[in-house]
């Protein structure tokens, strides 16, 4: 890719792009998108949303950073291995439904309980959330892995 561009005379492409506006706003918007993706993720239990959309949004936040900075910088900011994220996500997605057999119910049947947490009051604990975290991680990890591989960045 790079050499093709070079041959075509686009040697400037190689240089580090330093757009102050996108870098500054990117850092702010990154957090906003991440928060929104968490919001989407948690909303998914009763309303439209869920792990898949949340995961894509989280990935898009990181991709925004990739556009603003280069891969090395982002790697320093977020030192996570995408393979590991996918593995953990898939593991949660299969282990949680399987573990539900211990409750004596069929595959995927969700279980929930309520606990009292000091400040928040009554909080619902739900196995579907754990499964959805798995979906979230798998989708986010896959999207990021694809972008980083297609972008020619070897991890």
């Amino acid at each position: 890719m790079k050499s093709t561009l070079k041959r075509a005379g686009y040697s400037k492409v190689q240089r580090q792009m330093n757009d102050v506006f996108i870098q500054f706003t990117g850092r702010v918007i990154f957090l906003i998108i991440l928060l929104f993706s968490v919001n989407m993720f948690l909303a998914g239990h009763y309303e439209p949303g869920g792990g898949f959309v949340g995961g894509l949004l989280a990935a898009s936040a990181v991709i925004l950073l990739l556009i603003a900075f280069d891969f090395e910088t982002v790697r320093k900011m977020i030192p996570i291995n995408f393979h590991l994220i996918i593995s953990i996500g898939l593991f949660l997605a299969i282990a949680v439904p399987t573990a539900l057999y211990f409750f004596g119910v069929p595959f995927f049947t969700h279980q929930h309980t309520y606990i009292d947490v000091p400040i928040f009051g009554e909080v619902a604990l739900h196995t579907a959330v754990a499964f959805d975290i798995g979906v979230f991680m798998t989708v986010a990890g896959t999207a990021l892995l694809i972008v980083s591989l297609v972008g020619g960045m070897d991890d």
């Binding site: 996918i86 898939l90 593991f91 595959f107």
Partner: protein
Amino acid sequence: MATNILPMLPIILPFFAGVIMLFMGKRPIPHRIVSAITSALMVGISAYSIYYVYKNGAMVTFISNWSAPFGISVVYDMVAALLVLTTSIILFFTVVYSFQSIGYEREKYYYYPMVMFMITGIIGAFTTGDIFNMFVFFEVFLLASYVLITLGNRKIQLQEGFKYFVVNVVSSNFFLIGLAYLYSITGSLNMADIQIKLSNYDGNLAVMTLVAVVFIFVFATKAGLFPLYFWMPGSYNAPPIPIIALFGALLTKVGIYAIARTFSLFFQHDVGYTHQVLLLLALLTIIVGCIGALAYTDMKMVIIYNIMIAVGVIVVGFAMMDEVGSIGAMYYLIHDMIIKGALFLLVGFIIYRTGKNNSEDIGGLINSHPVVGWTFFIAALSLAGVPPLPGFYGKLFIVESAFLNDHVIAAIIVLLSSLIVLFSIMKLFINVFFREPREGLELRDIKSDKLLFSAVGLVVVSIVFGLSADFLYPVFEMAAESFFDPSSYSNYLMEVE
């Protein structure tokens, strides 16, 4: 009953194995151990499942505990049980075969996890009782197979992989369209529920013929039936041998299974049209397959065209939709999965040993490899259908059923095709093992104990399968029942309501 883990276990296990291997990273040796143990476990579990289903009837589990017509149900009946056992056996032998043949680089780049994910999808498609869920599992194994067909990045693989990808994406889209038609007509996606609704409806169901045609298009593409087989010889020729063995033995058979399932359950109102079309396509497939098998001397190509012949023969059996035909088709389906796997593994051994694909370039191997030679001979006889071997019984029932239903031409074509199968495969046998060795033929020094173990092992499985045909008859009768008597499949729904 509802919380029985047994019907889900063949889906959960390979998925788990794949995920565990992803955690291990690029380390082939642990991958080998995990995948071998998993596939051996699956053989054991699915063998026990057959016994369990035989004693207690179909196992049904309702995923998420949503009761039947609304949620997804997994119906592990005898058909599914037999297919899952065969899949596990082939998986086990192919995985062992891969240790010495697939190459370290491919193993490093997640070959085994992808095989496991593909098996998850295949077994899911076999066991699910929900037609939309079947579509999802089709996608699961297709995604994994896209990776497998291009893994290694050779030019031919990318070229054929792209063709394979486009064909399958198009046909999957049509699958989705067909499902949408079906849902808008019946208002249900549970296969048993659709069957009950359609059989209780006494109005005009001509529109179902449209759905049948869409489904023929989709599954004929997946199974490689006549006009839509064009992608198969090229795509199956491209990847390395263990992957071809998995594809050839399993992927087309999923298409056949889907044809048999949907046509027995949904399209019973206008059998004169839909099943005639199916029969015609099957016969044309046999003829084209025969031409291909005669035309090539390339070992892989001959066997790939033999897959087409077998697909045609099985679909002839299912198109009859009577008891004899279904038993024959079911038996031949299982037989063909085993023997195609075995033949690909044997041919693969010869290719790895000599480095030649074309049987014309090889000769006189019988001196250095008598065991392989005679195993190949037995496998060839079994493929053609010589009596004590399993191919015979399947074809016997299929031909008998064709004569009973006055499809004399179909019966004759099936019979003649066995002669051509025998000729094409004997041509390979004589070229490769007899004759004088060709000039410049050097045998490569490769480690081959595991290659031989799995190739000969699968042939032994096939022989045992043939010799125990009488003993297995009640099992196959039970399996075929859900095809020729669809209400027996949807019985489980009655128990719920």
